[in-house]
Amino acid sequence: MTTHDVFFTIVGVICAASALLSVTTKHLVHAALWLMVALVALSGCYLVLGAELVALVNLLIYVGAIVVLVLFALMLTRAPIGRSHEHDTSLAQRAASMVLCAATTALLAAVLISGLGNNAVRVSAGSTHTLSVQLFGTWVWPFEMLSLLLVAALVGALAVSRLPNAAIARTESGEGS
């Protein structure tokens, strides 16, 4: 049990627990907030693993942007405030899902741990400098492509959200029929 282990266990448990709460809570808004907690804890995990830049980016983009977006979306879709059971599936399906998710977890854990082993390894994330050199050297073309993708996604999101109601209804019914 090293120091790293201890810290990782702490943030990991927080992360897993808040993630679990975010998918099981009955309050819609709480779900988004628990997600935020989970993501913050995840950033902590990244820090423990020595990836400071990733932790920072995660915090900025996920916690700063995405969760806010989710909250906006919840409000725009008139999510009920307070406890509600509308947004959950039937009990049987949830039970099945539970079994399924347990099985998935077990499967993944088994595969990953048996595949990669349980050795105590040294964490060597390297400096942010080398990371940035790599990012803008070796990985620069994928990086540029990604920025293009981002622009396209933004434009697309804008286009979708700006469709007038009638047009949306027409496309819906046209696809549905």
Binding site: D5, G12, A19, V23, I61, A65, I66, L69
Partner: protein, 101 residues
């Protein structure tokens, strides 16, 4: 020094929880939250692999950054669609999606 099994167990747990969110929720936004958790699990696996193994090109971290970017793009489009669907249908219940109106 860190024992590899800890981050890996967290990866598995996050993915499983995300899957539960996707499968067990009816609200589209909550489903998206599940998707985000699964993506996070992937990112954590990348970082774990990158920092605990030989990785001269920093592929683990770079790919995680890419992943976060893509997730942002994905969720922006997805939420736009969700909002549009809500405006057209009045609800975003996944259990009723695809049914004939």
């Amino acid at each position: 020094m860190i024992h590899l099994s800890l981050p890996l167990a967290l990866v598995a747990a996050l993915f499983g929880i995300g899957l539960y969110g996707v499968v067990a929720r009816r609200n589209a936004v909550l489903v998206l939250i599940g998707v985000e958790l699964m993506l996070s699990a992937a990112g954590l696996l990348f970082v774990t692999a990158g920092t605990t193994m030989h990785d001269p090109m920093r592929g683990g971290q770079v790919l995680t950054i890419f992943l976060i970017t893509i997730a942002a793009a994905e969720i922006s489009v997805a939420l736009a669609v969700v909002v549009a669907v809500f405006r057209a249908r009045g609800d975003i219940d996944m259990a009723r999606a695809g049914e004939d109106e």
